[in-house]
């Protein structure tokens, strides 16, 4: 085999090792306070049940400490190994981050948009209903991922900006409307029996309601 074949093989071997190591998953936005997130705590509680049965942890604090130190070890170890190749990943668009659906919260929320016309509020958009004003845009997947942060109660200042942005569209689309209202209605995916009995998901109350003047 010519020497070029060996060089190619060596580069490909390096590529396989580096990409595989880069794909080792690490916790997203890892910090000690993240362990206090209700969804994370729920998951840790369930894992504590398993690990305490085999004597690994006994208390909530030990479970949190274990999660914290394991997460730290993963994050710093990965950075040590992959750090030298960050420029390569940046130039080629081959960053390996596959944290997809690591956790699925039982809480979700339905987006609702109303306009105030002729003295009364009217719903113009509500997720998964016949009210579908600008539905194509709101369901566009890149907009959906932005919205998803808001329904998780993250980034409230950006949510306010989003409402203002939608108000500009509403002012053009609803010339008789003088106000816009946007909010989320919390939903709980707790129990299939409750969903069957109720004919839908239980609601847990509205949050992050915002209004804007249109005229």
């Amino acid at each position: 085999m010519p020497w070029t074949a060996h060089v190619r093989a060596a580069l490909l071997a390096l590529y396989l090792v580096v990409v595989t190591l880069a794909a080792v998953p690490t916790p997203a936005g890892f910090s000690r306070t993240r362990l206090d997130d209700p969804a994370v705590k729920e998951s840790l509680d369930a894992w504590k049940g398993v690990l305490s049965a085999i004597g690994v942890v006994e208390t909530d604090e030990e479970m949190a400490d274990l999660a914290w130190s394991a997460g730290q070890a993963l994050v710093s170890g990965r950075q040590t190994l992959i750090g030298p190749f960050e420029t390569y990943f940046w130039l080629t668009g081959t960053r390996q981050s596959w944290r997809m659906y690591g956790g699925v919260d039982r809480r979700s929320a339905r987006l609702e948009i109303d306009v105030h016309e002729h003295g009364a509020w009217r719903t113009v958009y509500a997720d998964l209903t016949e009210h579908d004003w600008r539905g194509g845009m709101l369901r566009q997947e890149r907009v959906r991922t932005v919205r998803d942060h808001f329904s998780d109660k993250r980034n409230r200042s950006k949510w306010r900006g989003f409402v203002t942005w939608m108000a500009r569209l509403a002012a053009a689309d609803f010339p008789d409307a003088d106000r816009l209202r946007m909010r989320f209605v919390g939903l709980d995916a707790a129990d299939p029996a409750a969903v069957r009995e109720r004919g839908g998901q239980p609601e847990t109350g509205a949050f992050w309601a915002e209004e804007r003047e249109l005229r």
């Binding site: 668009g93 566009q140 950006k158 969903v195």
Partner: protein, 310 residues
């Protein structure tokens, strides 16, 4: 073992698989970009607030944006147009590696404009484009071939290693995504409720599946367990391919690999999984680009094109 590896990385094969993958990736990206334009999302996510968008400041870390002085509206519009043109070039098979490079850098720039929008499918697309850039993916099923030879297809041989790296990329994605599913809802001690919860989330669901999911709850639990097992064991597919490719070395594992086509099992589950995801949840181009990667499981001689395209 090193000599075997060098020999494997030096293998050549017809370009059919890579060409089909090239067309699929470019078409999926082009459709995604057109959808962003037609839906009205473009002005929200790819403009800064000063120009009518949502974010005060767009992401500007991508190499192309640094080169062009940042994400001004003219630069973003130009990159959008260039990426669409590059994608069209890749679909037709004209422009070679230049078209692929323009498409790759354009996609990287656009995907990074609004941090938090998009998802894993973006990285699958750009990883695919990078490996297609390294490969000779227009050796067949291309306008270039047509102009050069008078035929749309060619038996010209191309390096096989890019196809293997694409399989490796898919395996790495699946295993990483499977291993990271540590939330209790993915496991028996958490009730195996992950798929059920996903179907009930209005941000993701394409329709109100709540009653269906509640009535078919045991099926959603099975789907939850199957998803984790499927993803976490996907490393077996490239291992099986390696065993098949090195059959001459003998052994019980290779003998088993010669009798059982493991690809078909994972292909069938993958089609059901991603097909169901695509129908029930709004995940953008994720299902399409993931299924496109499955093309690379098959050698060119295992893919028969309809006679008329030959």
């Amino acid at each position: 073992m090193w000599q075997t590896f060098v020999g494997w990385t030096s293998q050549r094969e017809a370009g059919t698989t890579l060409a089909l993958f090239r067309i699929a990736v470019a078409a999926i990206l082009a459709w995604d970009l057109v959808d962003i334009g037609l839906s009205g999302a473009y002005g929200l996510i790819w403009r800064d607030a000063a120009h009518g968008g949502l974010l005060g400041k767009l992401g500007s870390d991508a190499p192309l944006l640094r080169l062009l002085g940042g994400p001004s509206p003219a630069v973003v519009d130009g990159i959008y147009a260039a990426t669409l043109i590059g994608s069209a070039g890749m679909i037709l098979g004209v422009g070679g590696r230049l078209a692929t490079l323009v498409t790759l850098q354009g996609a990287m720039a656009l995907f990074g404009l609004h941090p938090g929008s998009g998802g894993g499918h973006d990285r699958l697309i750009t990883s695919a484009l990078w490996l297609l850039f390294l490969a000779r993916s227009d050796a067949t099923l291309s306008l270039t071939t047509r102009l050069r030879t008078g035929s749309w297809t060619s038996d010209a041989l191309v390096p096989a290693w890019p196809r293997w790296l694409l399989v490796h990329q898919l395996a790495v994605m699946y295993v990483s995504a499977g291993v990271v599913k540590l939330g209790a809802e993915w496991w028996p001690h958490g009730g195996l409720v992950a798929v059920y919860r996903s179907l009930l989330d209005p941000a993701y669901a394409r329709a109100d599946w709540s009653l269906w999911a509640a009535r078919l709850f045991p099926l959603t639990q099975l789907a939850t367990l199957a998803t984790v097992l499927f993803e976490a064991t996907w490393w077996a597919v490239p291992l099986w391919m390696w065993l098949r490719a090195t059959q001459d070395r003998g052994g019980r594992l290779r003998s088993w690999a010669s009798r059982v086509d493991l690809r078909l099992v994972y292909l069938a589950v993958g089609v059901v999984l991603h097909g169901t995801l695509g129908l029930t949840l709004n995940l953008g181009p994720f299902s399409a680009i993931t299924l496109a990667y499955y093309l690379n499981l098959f050698r060119p001689d295992e893919i028969r094109l309809p006679r008329r395209t030959v």
